[in-house]
């Protein structure tokens, strides 16, 4: 037997549902991708930043004289220099503002204090090390619950007396906003009347997306043309261009943002960071291109963190397990500036999806956000705007309720699911779920893992003193932001654009306002166009990331690419097909009404032998267009989705616990996802593998923690723990398909479901293994020591 070298170049039309290999791989597997740090411009300078060792301190003096003596160092800038350009502070996405370089004081450890520009990387680094800064330490606020104590130190001197914020009144100098949804009164009444009630406090710890490529930027101001070119690791190049124009005053047509290949984003590369601004200002001031690439420490300590939600939930139910009402209070730690990346109307993102897959009649959710001495952020880390926190909350709580009711957690879920006939389902907190079949998906997952056999095994093991647990999560996501009536960022509506140009010889170039970071758009967009237009998938190239050429769009995050740009792509193709039909009728010498699109060809109705292909039509569009019809075959479509999409899934996890060390071993993990129509099953499966791995990391390892002084305790990869191949479990995946009724392709988006859905499954499994010892909840990350403590307190000890 010989192994055939698989065919690298599949030929022909490869539409939806085909696991075709990725077009973008060709450059990456030979080391020819172009990431930001691979770009070098003539005369380019390098920038390094000076960071604060203190979490909260007054700046008494900054002395750059030693730095300026170092050969090659060209300039050192501080907040004072930025103030001259009106750029010492910039607006955040959340309606707050943030310092670019520390202005009078620092508010978190590692905050940027000065920027050094030099001819070489070495000189820039030496210069940064030589800048002397004198500080006077101030008391630090680390615990968000203490941020609003009456005597808590004032963090934000700039707004200490401004009690009206971007999202309503502030009730303390460290309070940012209060947001609530649902009827508090009705919910409390329903809870009071419930036969059974549970209450649980849980923390979704601060995390960080930590893509392997750090953030970076090259500012390149061409003084002769007045044109600013910015190369930036950004998931949203168009939004960045608009923001840059607004803050710098440079007309938007004179700014070109290029987002090159991106080495992972996961939400980290959505916001505008001080380093970007400094590199751009440096280029404008020094008249040369300036490159800045983050160190890993800068990435982990200063750029967008995620989560940090401290949640209290109360759920009511009947004795036989029917849920009645839920009430949630959350304290959100936003760090020193409110730079959360959320749609403008939703300061707590889409957290109100917290009723999950269950038919709650009454619900109320309230969130308070506070300032602390930590880096700003609140990015949607592989998450659609706080959906991750919401899903974890409800899925963990359903297990707490099951425990209270002494009910099997699968049975409790089956009893409370929104039923297929209830869709479109209006949720108690105001969303309209598009479609779903939760029972079916859970049953597939239970069957696949052998749930009821596992429960038997668990009972036997427990009798022998061995510890195993089974955890379930049946989450519902809300993605694809979003419909313009509700969704905007800084006023820009959250539609997305697609452009298709079909060339005379039947090849095409396709562009979108999104920017992939590994999601495979170069392949999936081509598949959509191949499906809709009947073109050879290998003759379609996809371009994203250059604002000079791509149509406007809000970018790639929050699982929005397929729901928004994917829809735009399909509708752009259909618009082209409409025109193509006219050309086909002309070629077939029949009226347009007599032509139909069958099997990816235009066919004369009732005469299957008379047909033309899209290739023939494309050629005619340029060589033989029908009289009176505009020549050419291209279009741009901006798609404003009518609703969000609601992917769901059922995950089941089995764990074994080492009684000696407290180590948790994930034995099996079955993930059944329903993301509607699947465009490329290979890519979808890859997305699920990756997302599950990040969920696993969050559940067991990753945490951005601080000590009492505000020292960052996870400033590099020896302390911020990303799992390797050895720790990562082997994933078992599968699908059910419930198309979205409103999306042009029925697709819902999948990139984030596994990160959203899996943490609760892991935690539920560990708690399940220990439930008979009286354990009801363990906060993430579940370390060996947390489990060990429970074991020893229960008198369990073993080598």
């Amino acid at each position: 037997m010989s192994v055939q070298t698989p065919n690298l170049e599949p030929k022909g039309i490869q539409g939806l549902g085909k696991p075709i290999k990725r077009k973008e791989d060709a450059r990456f597997i030979v080391g020819k991708g172009t990431y930001l740090d691979d770009i070098n411009l003539p005369g380019m300078l390098y920038m390094a930043l000076v960071h604060s060792p203190y979490a909260h301190a007054k700046i008494l003096n900054i002395d750059a004289s030693e730095a300026l003596k170092i050969p090659g160092v060209k300039a050192v800038i501080t907040a004072k220099d930025l103030a001259a350009a009106g750029l010492s502070w910039i607006p955040t996405l959340a309606g707050d503002k943030q310092m670019v370089l520390a202005d009078g004081k620092v508010l978190y450890q590692y905050q940027e204090v000065a920027a050094v520009f030099a001819e070489t990387r070495q000189a820039a680094a030496d210069g940064a090390a030589a800048v002397q800064v004198e500080y006077e330490p101030l008391p630090v606020v680390v615990d968000p619950y203490k941020a609003t104590d009456p005597d808590a130190p004032v963090l934000r001197e700039d707004i200490k007396d401004k009690m009206e914020g971007a999202h309503g009144p502030r009730r303390h100098h460290n309070h940012i906003w209060n947001w609530s949804v649902g009827s508090k009164e009705e919910t409390e009444k329903a809870l009071a009347q419930s036969e059974v009630r549970i209450k649980q406090h849980m923390v979704y710890p601060r995390s960080h997306p930590a893509p392997l490529e750090p953030c970076g930027c090259i500012g390149d101001m061409n003084k002769a043309t007045g044109r600013l070119t910015v190369y930036m690791t950004t998931q949203a190049p168009h939004a960045i261009r608009t923001v840059l124009s607004l803050v710098t005053g440079i007309p938007e047509n004179n700014i070109r943002v290029i987002s090159p290949d991106i080495g992972g984003g996961f939400g980290n590369k959505v916001p505008v960071y001080p380093g970007y601004v400094c590199a751009i200002v440096g280029s404008i001031v020094l008249g040369a291109p300036v490159k800045w690439v983050e160190t890993r420490t800068e990435n982990l300590t200063t750029t967008g963190f995620a989560r940090d939600f401290h949640m209290d939930i109360e759920i009511g139910a009947t004795k036989d397990g029917k849920v009645t009402a839920m009430k949630v209070y959350t304290l959100a730690d936003h760090g020193a500036f409110d730079a959360a990346a959320d749609p403008s109307k939703y300061p707590a993102g889409l957290f109100s999806i917290c009723t999950g897959s269950y038919d709650f009649q009454k619900a109320y959710a309230e969130v308070d956000a506070v300032y602390t001495n930590k880096a700003p952020g609140g990015v949607a880390y592989r998450c659609s705007f706080r959906v991750t926190e919401a899903s974890y909350l409800i899925e963990r709580s359903m297990d707490v309720l099951a425990h209270e009711l002494k009910m099997d957690p699968a049975e409790l879920r089956l009893k409370n699911f929104i039923r297929p006939e209830q869709f479109p389902y209006p949720s108690a907190l105001g969303w309209t779920y598009d479609s779903g079949d939760y029972e079916k998906t859970l049953k597939v997952a239970l069957e696949r893992i052998g749930y009821y056999e596992l429960r038997k095994e668990q009972a036997e093991k427990r009798a022998r003193g061995e510890l195993m647990g089974i955890g379930i999560s049946t989450f519902t996501e809300i993605v694809g932001a979003g419909p313009s009536k509700d969704f905007d960022i800084l006023g820009i509506k959250m539609f997305d654009g697609a452009e298709i140009r079909v060339h005379p010889s039947g090849s095409a170039i396709v562009r979108a306002g999104t920017r992939h970071q590994g999601q495979g758009h170069e392949t999936t967009w081509a598949q959509i166009v191949s499906e809709e237009l009947g073109l050879d998938v290998d003759k379609i190239i996809v371009e994203e990331g250059d604002t000079d050429t791509a149509p406007y769009g809000l970018g790639t995050y929050a699982s929005r690419s397929t729901p928004t740009a994917g829809g735009a792509m399909a509708l752009a193709a259909r618009r082209i097909r409409e025109k193509a039909k006219k050309i086909a009728a002309h070629l077939l010498e029949v009226s347009e009404n007599d032509v139909e699109w069958v099997d990816k060809k235009f066919v004369v109705k009732g005469v299957p032998s008379k047909s033309v292909t899209m290739n023939e039509v494309a050629f005619a569009a340029y060589t033989n267009p029908p009289p009176g019809l505009e020549p050419g075959l291209e279009t741009t479509y901006y798609y404003d989705p009518p609703n969000l999409t609601f992917p769901h899934g059922a995950y089941v996890c089995v764990v074994d616990i080492d009684k000696g060390t407290g180590e948790v071993k994930v034995r099996r993990f079955v993930a059944i996802d329903d993301c509607g129509t699947i465009i490329n099953p290979m890519i979808v499966e890859g997305q699920v593998h990756g997302g599950l791995t990040e969920g696993f990391a969050i559940a067991f390892m990753q945490e951005i923690a601080f000590d009492e002084q505000g020292n960052h305790l996870a400033s590099n990869f020896t302390d911020y723990l990303l799992p390797t191949a050895l720790e990562t479990p082997r994933w078992e995946t599968g699908h059910t398909v419930t198309p979205s009724p409103h999306h042009p392709l029925g697709a819902k988006g999948v990139g984030e479901s596994p990160t959203v859905g899996s943490p609760a499954a892991f935690v539920n499994a560990v708690v399940d293994a220990l439930a008979h010892l009286g354990v009801r909840h363990i906060d993430m990350p579940i370390t060996r020591e947390k489990v060990w403590r429970i074991l020893r307190q229960s008198g369990i000890d073993s080598f």
Binding site: P53, Y54, A129, Y135, T301, D707, E708, Q709, L713, S715
Partner: protein, 149 residues
């Protein structure tokens, strides 16, 4: 990170001698290990540059040191602030100066140090044991030099 230490040092000298010693910034500075430079601002304030070798961490730290003797409380306070290697150290130490029956003096000391920056965030794993050794060395040096005077 916050580091807390305490200890006792027996000095072969009478309390009067000890008091004279701790009120002399030159003498106090001489107890710092690997002292590279010292600038005496006044009788209570000095700026010292010291070489610090903490495991793989080797570098120069510059400290502002304030001496605050409180004879009425039989207590000596020292506040130290400074840094190096992009990191910062804030330390408050106090020593009760207790005369003994045998013409000797007991230094009953304790100190709280806050370390911030890379020395804490990257070097934190090994800082504690090393910092303890450093502060013990300072007080041991004091004990020795006080007896010599």
């Amino acid at each position: 990170m916050k580091l807390e230490y305490s200890g006792q040092e027996k000095v072969q000298a009478e309390p009067e001698k000890v008091w004279r010693f701790v009120q002399d910034p030159h003498k106090v500075a001489s107890c710092l290990p690997d002292l590279k430079a010292v600038e005496i601002k006044d009788e209570k304030n000095l700026v010292a540059t010291v070489g610090v070798a903490v495991g793989p961490v080797r570098g120069t730290f510059k400290f502002n040191i304030e001496l605050d003797p409180r004879p009425e409380e039989n207590k000596m306070l020292v506040r130290l602030r400074g840094g190096g290697l992009g990191s910062a150290v804030d330390l408050t130490a106090s020593a009760n100066i207790i005369g003994q029956d045998d013409q000797t003096t007991l230094l009953d000391w304790s100190g709280v140090a806050n370390v911030s920056g890379p020395a804490a965030t990257v070097g934190g794993r090994v800082l504690d044991a090393q910092a303890k050794r450093l502060i013990e060395t300072v007080f041991a040096n004091m004990g020795q030099k006080m007896a010599e005077v």
